[in-house]
């Protein structure tokens, strides 16, 4: 018995505090949102009626979806390309080993974090107000969203590059721009392409719902059909969106795997 090691002692105050916090937070939240199983059960009749109405999907509606669907893809392409280009300087200046100085690094890092706090649909609402309803607002919103996604991921992978090459360029008398161009970007390029494809996947997904706030694409049709409770059409739109998103993701993922 002497061989049995003692059980590690638990830090009871920490455990108790954590559990108390979790319970309190859950109680506050459940209370706040009116979480009740009775409501769920009482409404189940209405729920089943809705589900019956939304099935089968209205396949006759499908041809009318082609144009808005293409618009969605255009929005995603423009957003990814514009955001992808703009994210290059943002990411480089936010990488600690490449940036131009502590002040620029700090400012850029915070800029990036603030961009990341707002969800894509908030940007869409803002741009729809500023430049008017339509696909241009959506493309601008996705550009901002893309900057947030790519620059965060890429600046982290740029921080882990081999600094030998950039230092060699510097030692030969190269300027900062030449150091970035010949020392840093070639090492980070593969990651950049893979993050850009990932951002494109996110953008295709996001551009499907941008129309809910009037920023163009297939979401605008979704919003009108939803407001009229035409649920067999809503189901059709959502099914079409899902199939398209899954296909695009498969293609993009296989390209990313080949790059890695």
């Amino acid at each position: 018995m002497a061989m049995v090691p003692p059980k590690p002692a638990r830090n009871w105050p920490l455990w108790g505090g954590t559990i108390a916090f979790l319970v309190a937070m859950s109680w506050w939240s459940a209370h706040g949102i009116g979480f009740s199983l009775t409501e769920l059960l009482c409404n189940s009749a209405g729920g089943t009626r809705l589900l019956q109405e939304s099935w089968p999907p209205d396949f006759a509606f499908l041809p009318r979806l082609i144009d808005p669907f293409m618009e969605t893809i255009y929005i995603a392409i423009v957003g990814t390309v514009v955001g992808g280009i703009l994210s290059i300087p943002v990411a480089i200046l936010a990488a600690r080993n490449l940036t131009l100085g502590p002040i620029i690094w700090f400012a850029d890092r915070n800029f990036m974090n603030i961009l990341r706090t707002l969800p894509d649909l908030f940007w869409a609402m803002l741009f729809a107000t500023a430049v008017g309803f339509g696909p241009v607002a959506g493309a601008l919103a996705l550009s901002v969203f893309t900057i947030a996604v790519i620059s965060k991921l890429w600046s982290e992978s740029l921080e882990s590059i081999d600094m030998g090459m950039p230092e060699a360029v510097r030692a030969c008398g190269g300027t900062w721009l030449q150091m970035v161009q010949f020392g840093a970007i070639p090492q980070g390029l593969q990651h950049y392409v893979s993050y850009a494809l990932y951002a494109f996947e996110l953008n295709v997904r996001a551009s499907m719902v941008l129309g809910l706030v009037g920023a163009g694409g297939i979401g605008m049709i979704l919003e009108t059909q939803r407001a009229n409770f035409e649920y067999e059409r809503v189901t059709m739109i959502i099914l079409a969106v899902l199939v398209a998103v899954l296909i695009i993701e498969q293609i993009s993922e296989s390209i990313r795997k080949r790059l890695a």
Binding site: S26, M70, I77, V81, L121, V131, R205, L212, L222, L242
Partner: protein, 263 residues
């Protein structure tokens, strides 16, 4: 071949890279034309954005304290309940979705989680709103269901990467598969899985913020209304408070995640 000996210049890789650039550029221009984003329109954009931004000042903070903070609290509550639902349901799914432990069931679990992942929260909310009524409860259910997919995927990846020694030790001393899960698998994977839960909570805060657009509670509906009625000072309060609250939650949650992973 043609390079002189002693002068080793790297061969430039023209080929697929320049083709890809060319195709992307062509698609980009075509898309720009299709959404009628002409150069004339592009020039106007900065001025238009600046004009609207100028209306945002000063932010109407009285509105902020009265209406926006409760709405933000509701968004946090939606995200919390959604994350709890997803965490509880995804833990067993993550174990059964590990290819190394349950090769047959795992394939099925992975299929289910991929399907759940494909639905954006807001599309699920469109269905839940008529089922459970307008309000935050619908939002919490939508967030919960759509988070299950990602948490199951990440969780089962963690389980697949464990050290198999303890599992074999439990089984060699006569323990069942279930006991092996309890004493050999869960203690190894729990810290990382909890970190994933926290990360998902951070994402869910952003997701729940937009659910108000379809009437599922939270701060998104407030922003949509203020912008629709052109109450820009009120919209500024919404944006300001959202940024601050999300930044604080991100910082706290990120710090806890780092502590959990390190310990």
């Amino acid at each position: 071949m043609s390079s002189k000996p002693g002068l080793l210049t790297p061969q430039k890789q023209i080929g697929w890279a320049s083709w890809a650039t060319f195709i992307i550029a062509a698609l980009f221009v075509w898309s720009l034309l299709a959404i009628e984003f002409s150069p004339g329109r592009m020039i106007q954009v900065p001025a238009q954005v600046a004009r609207v931004l100028s209306f945002f000042y000063p932010a109407d903070m009285a509105y902020g304290w009265e209406t926006v903070l409760p709405a933000l609290a509701e968004s946090i509550q939606i995200a919390w309940i959604g994350t709890i639902i997803a965490a509880i349901l995804s833990l067993p799914l993550a174990l059964f979705g590990a290819r190394t432990l349950f090769p047959r069931i795992a394939r099925f679990v992975k299929l289910v989680s991929a399907t759940a992942r494909a639905f954006p929260e807001i599309l699920l909310a469109i269905y839940f709103v008529p089922i459970v009524g307008l309000g935050p409860f619908a939002g919490a259910l939508a967030i919960g269901i759509s988070s299950i997919g990602m948490l199951t995927k990440l969780g089962s990846e963690v389980v697949e990467s464990i050290d198999f020694g303890p599992v074999e030790a439990v089984e060699a001393s006569g323990g069942s598969r279930i006991l092996a899960l309890r004493y050999a698998v869960v203690p190894q994977v729990l810290p990382e899985i909890v970190a994933h839960w926290l990360f998902r909570f951070e994402l869910n805060i952003r997701a729940s913020a937009v659910l108000g657009v379809v009437g599922a509670g939270g701060v998104g509906g407030v922003l949509l209304n203020t912008l629709r009625y052109r109450h820009f000072e009120k919209a500024a309060a919404v944006l300001l408070l959202t940024i601050i609250v999300v930044l604080i939650i991100d910082m706290v949650s990120g710090e806890i995640r780092r502590k959990i992973i390190r310990s």
